[in-house]
């Protein structure tokens, strides 16, 4: 097991190295840089002033030198300085991470809490009215982008109640209930979409398993329907569901851009887009690396979870 984890982490490191080259290269390929944006706020461009700023920010050095410098900084735990804010990148990134992690985890809880039971019900009641209704419910969730749903929630609340969740971040220590309200609505908006996917996977996977011989045997032995479904069928159908949950979590970390924007939550995804627009390379590069690390770790976690859920899957042998 230890060898397996070590191997996976080694592959993860190589993936990160590859990612760093891709991120770095793509950012430099995008037209314009921070200096162009700075001049945009002034409405003009002056070549000599431009050269001075490029020198100040180190953008006048060869691209490979900039890359090596960035990797050196990462290895030494120094993420560099934000071009836009002239502050250490870590100082800017640090407060964003808990917001996004919290929203992603809450959204995932909503997704699993809705998706798995509804998927089971839909499979068990296959081709009944309830099944059709739940399938429409899930199709609607997949069809509605979460940002659209978020905006509809905001506009409905303001139109009917004259109230919306706080537009400035409220920490749980400051006011727990307000914090909970602030995160619940976006978590519902995002979680609903994810739940639709989980529900569909749960349903199809469970239907497949329920046609297996051992399920028929269990039923023939007189076991109750509940035991057959939850203990025999679901346990064997859960692997694809866990895979989807893992992928969804990784997707949520980087994919909350619009939801964070609509609900005005100061998270990683919203800030990342802003940093891309500003060509704030140190912030973009480090945030994307953070997302890549989360994706690698969540995949590793899911793979390890297989071993616990299915005794047939064992690593390191």
């Amino acid at each position: 097991m230890k060898t397996y984890i070590a191997q996976r982490l080694g592959i993860g490191l190589l993936t990160l190295l590859g990612m760093s080259i891709v991120i770095f290269g793509m950012l430099r390929l995008a037209p314009g840089d921070i200096v162009d944006i700075l001049f945009s706020t002034g409405g003009y461009v002056n070549p000599s002033e431009r050269a001075a700023i490029e020198k100040e920010l180190g953008l006048d050095r060869p691209v490979w030198v900039q890359y090596v410098e960035w990797i050196r900084q990462i290895v030494t735990g120094d993420l560099g300085k934000s071009y836009r804010y002239d502050l250490p990148a870590w100082e800017i990134i640090r407060p964003l991470i808990p917001v996004t992690l919290e929203l992603a985890v809450l959204s995932l809880i909503v997704a699993v809490a809705l998706g798995v039971p509804l998927g089971v019900i839909s499979a068990v009641r296959q081709d009944t009215g309830l099944d059709y209704a739940l399938r429409v419910f899930s199709l609607a969730g997949l069809s509605m982008p979460s940002f659209w749903l978020g905006m509809v929630i905001i506009l409905s609340l303001v139109a009917w109640l004259g109230w919306i969740p706080p537009v400035t971040y409220v920490s749980p220590r400051e006011n727990f209930w307000l914090h909970a309200v602030q995160f619940t609505l976006p978590a519902l908006a995002v979680g609903y979409r994810s739940s639709a996917l989980i529900m569909r996977i749960t349903r199809s996977s469970l239907l497949e398993v329920m046609r297996e011989d051992y399920i028929r045997t269990a039923r023939a032995k007189g076991q109750s329907g509940r035991v057959v479904i939850w203990r025999h069928a679901l346990q064997n159908a859960i692997l694809p569901v866990v895979t989807v949950i893992g992928i969804e979590f990784a997707f949520l970390i980087g994919g909350l851009v619009v939801t964070e924007t609509v609900f005005n939550l100061p998270g990683v995804a919203r800030f990342l887009v802003e940093a891309i627009l500003w060509r704030d390379y140190p912030i973009v590069q480090n945030l994307v690396m953070f997302i890549a690390i989360v994706v690698i770790l969540s995949n590793l976690f899911v793979d390890m979870l297989y071993g616990f859920l299915d005794p047939r899957v064992r690593y390191g042998h």
């Binding site: 037209p31 314009g32 840089d33 162009d36 944006i37 700075l38 001049f39 945009s40 706020t41 002034g42 409405g43 003009y44 461009v45 002056n46 002033e49 001075a52 700023i53 100040e56 804010y85 002239d86 502050l87 800017i92 905006m151 905001i154 506009l155 609340l157 303001v158 139109a159 004259g162 109230w163 919306i164 706080p166 537009v167 400035t168 971040y169 924007t261 609509v262 609900f263 005005n264 100061p266 919203r270 800030f271 802003e274 627009l277 060509r279």
Partner: protein, 538 residues
């Protein structure tokens, strides 16, 4: 504009204001102390509080409470005229030597937010830096308003409380430019680069915290030199990137004040319907829609083709279709009653594109035919614009208008990072553009946007005759004569289709009724000091 049409325009403007303001009573109550206000902020501060290094309202508006100017437009009056100038850091001022020297006598009771005394050294430091004087103690990283001060020969600080601006020639407009929200005084003992991350000012509020991408918090400056001010204890500028969320937050009462230039006529009508108590004041933004034409490259190096473009665009239809009536026609200076220098309506009607649409389009076709452009030999151009909705809407309308006279334009959306470099380098044919004027002063406008060699003269239009006219109006001391010169200048640049003006945008500035003393100006860049603002509900 005749006397009768002026009266009608004024009455309409007042009527509109009254309709939006509803039953809001005139603020005759005694101001109350204390309380907090949340103000809308459309985007994060682009360069922190470094106002001299930027030209965006996203920096200037939330920086206003931190700073002071030598002089400022009276914050309690909407109109920005010379008569409405009041002293801030300058107690009084005097033009001397036939407008060759401008002398400021400074207040002696002013302290910077870090406790250091304010003196004439700070004024000299700031404006030597902005005009890039050889003796300047510091240099700005980006200096968009250097052109405002090219006529300043020397700045002297003979004693700690007197400053003299020596001019190369008379320039009455300099005083007005010093009143802009873009002309605050920096502290000489502070590195100007530090304003990108913090703010040491003399203003009514001290910066408490700028949480990047989230908010800017201010607390009352208890040492403020105006005794009894400010009234409010705290301010928060809340950054909300999504327009729908911003509007919802204002409607829900989480924000007390809208962002200048943010509220369109349609949005204002919806807000008023949802919350009838909101106080909405229609004002001018000092932001124009205009067309930039690359005068250095074919086909727009041909004045006839440029003029045909100007004739082809129906200004009134644009105002109706794109702004739903929330803009007014005008030439290169903001029109009356919003601005001081705008052309009269009768003069506007004589300009390209302001007459009867059918006649204008026929004339455009004739000009194009004279330039060899016919239905058999149509002109195909690329219309560039910023990839932002308000720019794209404008460009789309213009493309449709051009099509009607035989110019086939395709839309090219340019990302913000590329827009100004592209425009400055002249790497475009024709573009749909927005221009904000930091102050309603012809010198600020013409030296920035029409002077030969100015980096913001995106059309790269250069006319010796126009340069002479700019210089002439700049040093004219008689206000009536200067007005006539500026009128002639406006007609000339429109007749040359240097940068055809399409309209001037209006803002429907919105506050909750408990916000008192916040008077929006007819220029979004010059109000918001917040010293006289108070809250009528704790």
């Amino acid at each position: 504009m005749t006397r009768s049409t002026r009266i009608v325009a004024l009455a309409m403007s007042l009527g509109l204001a009254a309709a939006f303001a509803g039953a809001a009573p005139a603020s005759a109550q005694a101001p109350k102390y204390g309380g907090h206000l949340n103000l809308m902020q459309r985007e994060d501060l682009s360069q922190g509080f470094a106002v001299h290094e930027t030209s965006t309202i996203a920096t200037s508006f939330p920086s206003m409470p931190c700073f002071n100017n030598l002089v400022v437009f009276d914050q309690s009056k909407r109109a920005e005229t010379v008569d409405n100038l009041v002293g801030e850091l300058a107690e009084k001022w005097s033009w001397q030597d036939n407008y060759r020297n401008l002398v400021f006598f400074l207040r002696k009771d002013v302290k910077w937010h870090d406790g250091q005394p304010f003196t004439s050294k700070d004024v000299k430091f700031t404006f030597d830096m902005v005009r890039e004087a050889p003796e300047a103690a510091a240099k700005l990283r980006i200096n968009p308003r250097k052109d405002w001060y090219t006529n300043v020969e020397k700045i002297e600080a003979p004693d700690p409380y007197t400053v003299v601006f020596h001019l190369k020639r008379p320039q009455p407009g300099l005083l007005v430019m010093l009143a802009s929200g873009y002309s605050p005084v920096y502290a000489a003992h502070v590195n100007p680069a530090s304003y990108r991350t913090g703010c040491i000012g003399t203003g009514p509020f001290k910066l408490k915290e700028w949480r990047k991408g989230e908010f800017v918090d201010y607390v009352k400056n208890t040492d403020y030199f105006m005794k009894g001010r400010p009234y409010l204890d705290t301010l928060r500028y809340v950054v909300i990137k999504e327009r729908g969320t911003r509007t919802a937050a204002l409607q829900a009462g989480q924000l007390d004040v809208s962002f200048p230039g943010e509220t369109t006529k349609t949005a204002a009508e919806q807000l008023k319907k949802a919350v009838p108590g909101l106080v909405i004041t229609p004002v001018a933004q000092a932001v124009s829609d205009n067309i930039i034409l690359n005068t250095k490259k074919p086909p727009f190096d041909n004045p006839k083709v440029r003029l045909a473009v100007s004739y082809a665009i129906d200004r009134r239809a644009l105002i109706s279709a794109v702004h739903q009536g929330g803009a007014v026609p005008g030439a290169s200076q903001q029109p009356k009653p919003y601005g001081v220098w705008g052309l009269l309506e009768k003069d506007l009607l004589a300009l390209p594109g302001y007459g009867k649409p059918a006649d204008m389009k026929a004339h455009a076709k004739k000009l194009l035919a004279e330039a060899g452009i016919t239905p058999q030999n149509p002109l195909r151009v690329e219309m560039s614009t910023r990839a932002i909705a308000m720019y794209v809407d404008l460009a789309s309308f213009v493309i449709n208008e051009l099509k009607q006279v035989g110019i086939e334009a395709t839309l090219k959306q340019v990302e913000t990072a590329q827009w100004h470099p592209m425009a400055t380098r002249g790497e475009y044919q024709i573009g749909a553009n927005l221009t904000g004027l930091g102050v309603d002063e012809p010198d600020a406008n013409y030296y920035e946007n029409y002077a030969c060699g100015s980096p913001r003269n995106y059309s790269q239009y250069c006319s010796e005759e126009v340069m002479k006219m700019i210089e002439q109006q700049s040093q004219e001391l008689n206000p009536q004569k200067r007005l006539a010169l500026v009128s002639a200048l406006q007609k000339k640049v429109e007749a040359d289709a240097a940068r055809p003006l399409l309209d001037w945008r209006l803002d429907y500035f919105t506050v909750w009724p408990h916000v008192k003393g916040l008077v929006p100006h007819d220029n979004i860049y010059n109000f918001g000091r917040m010293a006289d603002v108070w809250r009528d509900k704790q």
